[in-house]
C-alpha cells in the first residue's frame, strides 16, 4: 500500500447494542481506496453486525461512520444515496425470485439510479459473460446452483458501480465445490483494485485476498495486521487459539 493512500471508509468509536446488550464496542477502522480488509472471528463476535452498520442497515448507539466524509446514518435521508455507493452481498444471496437473472441485475440501476435500460442490459451481459453465466440470463434464481446465484449477487452489486463492496460470509451456505468459483470472482475483483471489506471463515482465501486482516472477538477488534503477520505470528492468545481451530494437523 502506498503512503498517499486515500481514506474512503472511516469508522470512529463505533458502539452498537441490541436491546442494551453491547454487540460492538469502540470499533475504530479506516479502509483505504483499493484496499481489501478481511475480518475473521468466532460466530457471534459481531462481525456481520459490523458489516451491516457499514451499509447503514443497523442503527448505531455511538460513534461515526463516514464514506468519503459523508455520514453513513440509517436515520438520515442521504442513506439511500450512500447505499448506492456501497455494494453488499449476503450469505443468503437474496436474489429476487420473481425476476430473471438479467432482470435481477438491471432492476436497481434502472429503477433506483434511473440509468438507461439498454445500456444497463449491455453492461449486465458483459458482467455475466465475465463470470461465465451469460447463457443463464433468462433463467430464474431457483434454476441456478448456490454458487451461480452468489456470483449473480456479486454482479448485481457491481453494476451499481459501488466505491466499496461488503461481502458477508458469501460462501458460508455453499457446498465445498462451489466455494471456489465464488472466491475466484472475488480474487479477480481484488486484483482490479476494488475496495472491499470481507467477512469470511475461509482462512486460505482470506490470506490470499487480504491486504489487511482483522480479528474480532466479543465485539472488539482484538488484533489487526498484514496477512503474513496475522497468520504466521499472531500476537494475542485469543487469535492463536482461534486460528488453531482451523488446523487439523498434529
Amino acid at each position: 500500500m502506498s503512503d498517499n493512500a486515500k481514506e474512503i471508509l472511516k469508522i470512529e468509536h463505533l458502539f452498537k447494542d441490541y436491546d442494551n446488550t453491547p454487540v460492538l464496542e469502540d470499533i475504530d477502522l479506516t479502509v483505504n481506496k483499493g484496499e481489501v480488509v478481511v475480518i475473521v472471528g468466532p460466530s457471534g463476535c459481531g462481525k456481520s453486525t459490523f458489516l451491516r452498520c457499514l451499509n447503514g442497515l443497523e442503527s448505531i448507539r455511538e460513534g461515526r461512520i463516514t464514506l468519503d466524509g459523508e455520514p453513513v446514518d440509517p436515520n438520515n435521508r442521504s442513506i439511500y444515496k450512500i447505499r448506492e455507493r456501497i455494494g453488499m452481498v449476503f450469505q443468503s444471496y437474496d436474489l429476487f425470485p420473481h425476476k430473471t437473472i438479467l432482470q435481477n441485475i438491471t432492476l436497481s440501476p434502472v429503477k433506483v439510479q434511473k440509468r438507461d435500460k439498454k445500456e444497463t442490459e449491455k453492461e449486465a451481459l458483459e458482467l455475466l459473460e465475465r463470470i461465465g453465466l451469460s447463457s443463464h440470463k433468462d433463467k430464474y434464481p431457483r434454476q441456478l446452483s448456490g454458487g451461480q446465484k452468489q456470483r449473480v449477487a456479486i454482479v448485481r452489486a457491481l453494476i451499481m458501480h459501488p466505491e466499496v463492496l461488503l461481502l458477508d460470509e458469501i460462501t458460508a451456505s455453499l457446498d465445498p465445490e462451489m466455494v471456489r468459483e465464488v472466491l475466484d470472482v472475488v480474487l479477480s475483483l481484488a486484483r482490479e483494485g476494488r475496495t472491499m471489506v470481507i467477512v469470511t471463515h475461509e482462512m486460505g482465501f482470506a490470506r490470499a485476498v487480504a491486504d489487511r486482516m482483522i480479528f474480532m472477538d466479543g465485539g472488539h477488534i482484538v488484533e489487526e495486521g498484514s496477512p503474513d503477520e496475522f497468520f504466521d505470528r499472531p500476537k494475542s492468545e485469543r487469535l492463536r487459539s482461534f486460528l488453531k481451530t482451523f488446523d487439523y494437523e498434529g
Binding site: 451499509n55 449476503f90 437474496d94 436474489l95 420473481h98 429503477k111 434464481p141 451499481m160
Partner: protein, 219 residues
C-alpha cells in the same frame, strides 16, 4: 329421472345461473378492492384506519353471511336507505369476502422475508420502490392460492342469497321443488349448475397458481 322436466326447468336455471354469477362476481370484485385496501392499511399500520380495518375483519369473518345479509337487507331500509336484493347480495358478499381477502393479502405481504428487504435496501431501494418491485410481486405470489380459495368459497356462499328472495340457483331449485316435487331432477340440475360455475374457476385457479409460484421457491 324425468328428462322432460329437466328440459322444462333448464331455462329457469339458466336465468338463475346468470343472476348468481353476475352478483357473485360483482361481490368478489368488491371484496378484492376492500381486501387490497385493507391489507395495505394493515401492512403500513396506518393509524386509526388500521384499528378500524382490524375490527371490520374480525366482525365479518366471525359472523355468518346470512346474518350480515339480514342486517343489510332489513336494516338499511330502517335507516331510510332502500336497496334491491341484488345490490344487497353483492354488498354482503363483498363485505364478507373483503374481510377474508384482506387477511390473505396481508399475510402474503408479511410473508416476504426480511432478507429480501435487506437485499433490496442494500441496492439503494427507497421504501416505495422496494414495496412495488420487491415485496408486492412476491406477496401476490404467496397470496394467490388463498385468494383463489376465497373466490371459490364466496361463489358457493351465494347460495344464501335465496334468503333475501334473490332468484339465484338455490332459490330456483327450492321454488321448483316446492311447486312440482321433482326433487331428484331439481337437485341434479342444481349440482350441475354449481359445478358449471365453479369448475372453471378451480381449473383457471390452479393454472394461475402454477404461473406465479416463484414466491415459494428459493432466492
Amino acid at each position: 329421472m324425468e328428462f322432460d322436466a329437466i328440459r322444462e326447468y333448464l331455462p329457469l336455471y339458466a336465468e338463475a345461473f346468470k343472476l348468481t354469477v353476475t352478483i357473485g362476481w360483482i361481490g368478489i370484485a368488491l371484496s378484492l378492492v376492500i381486501g387490497i385496501a385493507g391489507a395495505f392499511i394493515m401492512y403500513f399500520r396506518i393509524p386509526v384506519l388500521c384499528q378500524i380495518t382490524k375490527a371490520y375483519v374480525e366482525l365479518f369473518r366471525n359472523t355468518p353471511l346470512l346474518v350480515q345479509l339480514f342486517f343489510i337487507y332489513f336494516g338499511l331500509p330502517k335507516l331510510g336507505l332502500s336497496i334491491s336484493s341484488g345490490t344487497c347480495g353483492a354488498i354482503g358478499l363483498g363485505l364478507l369476502g373483503g374481510s377474508y381477502m384482506a387477511e390473505s393479502i396481508r399475510s402474503g405481504l408479511f410473508a416476504v422475508s426480511e432478507s429480501q428487504k435487506t437485499g433490496a435496501a442494500s441496492l439503494g431501494f427507497r421504501r416505495g420502490g422496494m414495496f412495488f418491485y420487491v415485496i408486492l410481486p412476491q406477496a401476490v405470489s404467496i397470496s394467490v392460492p388463498s385468494v383463489i380459495a376465497n373466490v371459490i368459497f364466496l361463489l358457493k356462499e351465494t347460495s344464501v342469497f335465496s334468503a333475501i328472495s334473490l332468484m339465484d340457483l338455490m332459490f330456483t331449485a327450492k321454488d321448483l321443488i316446492g311447486l312440482y316435487y321433482k326433487t331428484t331432477e331439481c337437485l341434479t340440475l342444481l349440482v350441475a349448475f354449481y359445478i358449471l360455475m365453479l369448475l372453471p374457476v378451480s381449473i383457471l385457479g390452479s393454472i394461475v397458481e402454477k404461473k406465479v409460484r416463484f414466491g415459494m421457491y428459493g432466492s
